[in-house]
């Protein structure tokens, strides 16, 4: 279904008396508005595979960031809403290296731990109370233990001792800085890297004049149908037609 097909179907679904209201320009605004509302509604219920699939072309998953704070306007594909932040923290391991063994009384490591040796990941293969070994040949450099956790949202109105963020329960918050005109995501305490999952704007707009782009490439049919129903309902609201509004709303209730 192209944007033009969507526009024609939408025209057929609304009352012909109001055809003046559905010029391509007005239809574009109606479709964008409808899509945003459906996305917001679907995003609020991101608990099943169906919702994830509906928004699949708007989801950016595991996007890694190494500089902080994170400017949301600089994120790829037009950031809208943060879904999850998984920060990673590095802890340096003190050791003395001799003959394949890393001697340390306080390493606290476990077999299978991932360590950073420079930029490379290495794995701990053997652990004793006084030393440990790794799976990679070693010549020089520091070893750091990687701890990856999931950040929860910071609650501005909760400043008690329990809400103090630690690297085991980090927090994210989103602030606008008027002096730099930048909206940014802050993660406390600051990690070395973070993986973000977030929602973007529509990758392809609903354009009533577009006869080439197939919307199904980006959006599943059931998502397009919901956007259509939402557009019809919004049209009824704009034309202040109470009867039409009630039937269009009932259609959404019947086909959730």
């Amino acid at each position: 279904m192209t944007g033009y097909n969507f526009y024609i179907t939408l025209q057929e679904k609304v009352n012909k008396e109001y055809s003046d209201y559905l010029s391509p320009v007005k239809a574009n605004r109606l479709m964008e508005d409808g899509a945003i509302r459906v996305i917001e509604d679907t995003y609020g219920k991101l608990i099943g595979m169906k919702e994830y699939e509906a928004l699949s072309s708007l989801l950016v998953i595991n996007y890694e960031i190494t500089s902080f704070p994170i400017n949301v306007n600089a994120l790829p594909n037009n950031y809208t809403v943060l879904l999850a932040a998984r920060p990673s923290y590095l802890t340096d391991i003190p050791f003395t290296y001799t003959d394949g063994k890393f001697y340390s009384d306080t390493h606290g490591l476990r077999v299978g731990d991932t360590l950073k040796l420079g930029a490379a990941n290495v794995t701990v293969t053997e652990v004793r109370p006084r030393y440990f070994k790794i799976d990679t040949a070693y010549s020089s450099g520091t070893l750091s233990l990687v701890l990856t956790t999931t950040a929860v949202s910071d609650k501005v109105n909760a400043k008690n001792v329990f809400s103090t963020p630690t690297k085991y329960s980090p927090k994210f918050s989103i602030h606008y800085n008027p002096s730099t005109d930048v909206r940014s995501i802050t993660i406390t305490p600051q990690p070395s890297t973070v993986e973000l999952d977030y929602l973007t704007r529509l990758p392809v707009a609903f354009d009533a004049n577009d006869t080439a782009t197939d919307l199904n490439t980006y959006y599943p049919d059931f998502f397009l149908t919901k956007v259509m129903d939402e557009c019809v309902k919004n049209f009824a609201i704009r034309t202040k037609d109470t009867g039409f509004y009630q039937t269009s709303r009932q259609e959404i209730v019947d086909n959730p």
Binding site: V152, N157, V161, F162, S163, Y168
Partner: protein
């Protein structure tokens, strides 16, 4: 199961399965409650059981490599140590304090009974005596009398806060409970929070406004 996993079980229990990166309950508050409830459950188990049986999975082991002699007293050494749980007048959470080989306990002062009192007869001829103590600046430790040159000991204990035990890695190590206690623990912590939340409309969408609840009730 790590403390993080137990905490999320509690969170799922309280929120009826709805998971979110947003929550009205802080991680640290839930963890404090988990630690306290663990102590209560284990304490109840041990004080009600005539045989004083304890599960190995509740116990944490600490090896200390050097002690302090802060008082400059003859024959006294102090090893800093986390606090153990209280059980009753005769028992607390210290399971073993003694030689690092794990089979030569030192004799305890101040209490007449302990979990390993039956092993007293195995202790060495030259007896080392110990007791838990807190100094004037708040450091909690094990005071050992009998050998001021003592450098290495092993302590096994049911700690009040398992996170404070040196060598415990909270991100990978199993929280020191067995499955039975863990099950009780999650239920107890959920119930505690739900009791406190009772009477308030549920914040089904965690946005502090209870909008969904209002919609449902309307």
């Amino acid at each position: 199961m790590t403390i993080d996993q137990i905490r999320e079980l509690v969170r799922i229990g309280i929120s009826a399965g709805v998971e979110s990166t947003d929550s009205v309950l802080d991680d640290a508050a839930i963890e404090a409650m988990i630690n306290d409830k663990r102590a209560t459950i284990i304490s109840t188990f041990l004080s009600q059981s005539k045989a004083n049986r304890l599960s190995e999975s509740w116990v944490q082991h600490v090896y200390f490599n050097c002690g302090l002699n802060p008082y400059q007293c003859k024959d006294t050494v102090v090893f800093e140590c986390p606090r153990a749980i209280h059980i009753n007048n005769e028992l607390d959470g210290f399971v073993y304090v003694g030689n690092v080989n794990g089979i030569e306990p030192f004799t305890r002062l101040k209490t007449s009974f302990m979990n390993l009192s039956m092993l007293d007869s195995m202790s060495s001829k030259k007896r080392l005596l110990w007791y838990p103590d807190t100094d004037s600046v708040g450091n909690h430790g094990i005071v050992i009398r009998g050998n001021k040159f003592l450098e290495k000991i092993k302590i096994s204990l049911i700690a009040s806060n398992p996170m404070e035990v040196p060598s415990f890695r909270r991100d990978v190590d199993n929280y020191p409970v067995d499955a039975h206690v863990r099950d009780l623990l999650v239920d107890e912590v959920c119930n505690s929070f739900l009791k406190k939340l009772r009477g308030r409309t549920p914040d089904l969408t965690p946005d502090f406004t209870d909008t969904l609840a209002k919609k449902v009730n309307r």
